[in-house]
Symmetry: C2
Subunit: 201 residues, 2 copies
DNA sequence: TTAACTAAGTTAACACCTATAACATTAGAG
DNA sequence: CTCTAATGTTATAGGTGTTAACTTAGTTAA
């Protein structure tokens, strides 16, 4: 039976929401069970009825982050002419980086390997995989229609993902101060991967 | 006058070394001042005579990390035919990723934006810049000899850095299980950026 | 030489944290 | 209407960064 929380209403959802709020405004290190409990008006150990430990709560935040990312990517693709693979690839890359810029603390949590060890939270890995699949399908389609080179798909996806992930992290951490160089830096970076960096092309 | 620590000998250096050891074996979250002090046989507050706070100690570790990275990149370049820009670019990229794979926890500390906020430790920013410069010079040279496209240098370096940084992070965090696809995945990824992803080249 | 100063260590304590144990309350099932 | 299990409580153990107050020992100057 689905149990509606009786005393408080819905502590798990509220805890999730408050934790997300703290994450967005103050970063993951500021997320403490005590702080969350105080915001809701409940004792800290009460949270242990709904979360195994602090890390599990963080994992849930990361899971919703990956779902948000997946939805953003899908959404962007739906607004783009699917018959133009270059356009689709550019836009999924731009949407990816835009997500990281909009949710820097959430993005860091999702990919901060030291916080959430890979393998410890199967649902998290699954959520990450689903977001990755959107990118993978776009690349695969680009190959199918003959726009992208017919190299092994894992190589192509690893390259594309590395580029957008690296650009996202360097951007939100402020390592790329020369970001005002292009119409957008991201567009130039993505174009460079598509067209190549060599001069003879 | 340079004061030689009298009581213990050289607490700062030993603290640095022990912290680095803990970082390498157990990750940054395991670095506590009490743990370091216990290893050395000194009280925890004694460390505050040499480090403003925990974060400053971590910043020092990251600084040595960037110096190690810079040296690795320079070293690799010195072993490579400078007249062959493609070779140089490939090898600096491979050396970069290899460093991250050799020192995953140190690498995460160096680039974990939430641990060490940009701007709070000027010497850290400077050390990062010096490592970046090695990459920048290699790219710039590739342009000068006409091998790379004459696009704005910040765009070229941002692209190259994003790719190797992203690949490094995704690799050490275990997000690329299909890494056994190539002679090396890194080589394939770098080649793709140089030659482009489009099929008509 | 010795007194004063200062660098570098000590213990004690505060505030905060995760997490567990033991106890209290109440919703809902039989 | 009772009983059980879910959900909350307080108390507490053990860990953390950090500061205050005190002690020790090396350096410097009278």
């Amino acid at each position: 039976m689905p149990r509606l929380a009786y005393h408080h209403g819905d502590l798990p959802q509220q805890a999730h929401q408050q934790a997300l709020d703290i994450l967005r405004t103050q970063g993951d290190t500021a997320i403490s069970l005590r702080a969350i409990a105080k915001r809701i008006g409940v004792s800290a150990p009460a949270l242990y009825r709904h979360f195994a430990d602090r890390e599990s709560l963080l994992a849930e935040l990361a899971i919703t982050g990956f779902r948000l990312l997946r939805d953003r990517l899908r959404n962007r693709l739906s607004q783009v002419d699917q018959a133009d693979p270059r356009h689709a690839l550019l836009h999924i890359g731009l949407a990816y980086v835009a997500f990281a810029e909009d949710e820097p603390n959430l993005y860091r949590l999702m990919f901060g390997g030291r916080i959430l060890p890979k393998g410890a939270h199967p649902q998290l890995d699954e959520a990450g995989l689903q977001a990755f699949r959107v990118l993978e399908e776009t690349v695969e389609n680009g190959q199918r229609v003959g726009y992208l080179k017919p190299l092994p798909l894992p190589l192509m996806t690893a390259t594309a993902w590395s580029l957008v992930h690296g650009l996202s992290e360097l951007t939100i951490d402020g390592h790329l101060p020369g970001a005002d160089i292009e119409p957008t830096l991201a567009e130039g970076v993505l174009t460079l991967l598509l067209d190549g960096s060599r001069n003879d092309q």
